[in-house]
């Protein structure tokens, strides 16, 4: 277990409402990531952070913003949720296992936008 929690685990919301998902890590890792997973598309990177207040866009960043005010917390905000943002969202942190670099994933948040 990589010490990553996500909240909420499930959320149903309506089109046009703002939504914030939280990722919390206990590993003190510098790098954190947000992905979305959709059938047939695999995991796609939304945004990532390389330190407190340092973030950058990923492959599918439109409609999403992020913030990182503390090392342990990385927030993903949907400014005005749309049905196309219905998905499972995963947070990840980067780390090393022996001499191997990899990313470790949280349990996911299932978001449904009606």
């Amino acid at each position: 277990d990589a010490g990553i929690t996500q909240s909420p685990r499930h959320k149903v919301t309506e089109t046009g409402t703002p939504v914030t998902l939280r990722c919390h890590q206990t590993e003190n890792h510098r790098y954190m990531y947000w992905y979305r997973q959709d059938p047939g598309h695999g995991l796609r990177l939304i945004h990532y952070s390389y330190g407190v207040k340092d973030t950058d866009k990923g492959e599918v960043s439109d409609g999403y913003s992020v913030s990182r005010s503390k090392t342990e917390d990385f927030l993903l905000t949907l400014e005005s949720a749309t049905s196309s943002q219905t998905s499972v969202y995963f947070c990840a942190i980067s780390g090393r296992q022996g001499s191997t670099d990899t990313q470790y994933f949280g349990p996911g948040t299932r978001l449904t936008v009606l």
């Binding site: 990553i4 790098y31 990531y33 047939g40 598309h41 695999g42 995991l43 796609r44 990177l45 990532y48 390389y50 950058d56 995963f90 980067s94 296992q97 191997t100 670099d101 990899t102 990313q103 470790y104 994933f105 949280g106 349990p107 996911g108």
Partner: protein, 109 residues
């Protein structure tokens, strides 16, 4: 464009029936190729990282191999508990991971 393709999409095996999953990729540069296992309703679980052609890694009944254009995940004498979706990802640059859509493996007792 960086792309990762996994095949087959789904694979059904009898317990003990060995097989291989394929991950083919086209990337501008390869920092690493990753294999993950994902169980329903859970996050991906790290299995292996491969860095260069010819490299092999093993863990229990799983062995991952890498060539310049593809990777294979060999499953020897699988058991029902090996049933899961197996994900392949490549990292062409730092902080960029491109995932395939996965292979859903079912092992029948």
């Amino acid at each position: 464009e960086d792309q990762v393709t996994q095949s087959p999409e789904a694979l059904r095996l009898q317990e003990g029936e060995s097989s291989s999953l394929n991950c083919s990729y086209t990337v501008s540069g390869l920092r690493g190729l990753f294999w993950y296992r994902q169980d329903p309703g859970k996050g991906p679980e790290f299995l292996f990282t491969l860095y260069s052609a010819g490299e092999e890694k093993e863990k229990e009944r799983l062995k991952a191999t890498l060539t310049k254009k593809e990777s294979f995940l060999h499953i020897t004498a699988p058991k029902p508990e090996d049933s899961a979706t197996y994900l392949c990802a490549v990292s062409p640059t730092v902080n960029d991971m491109r995932f395939g859509a996965g292979t859903r493996l079912t092992v029948k007792p």
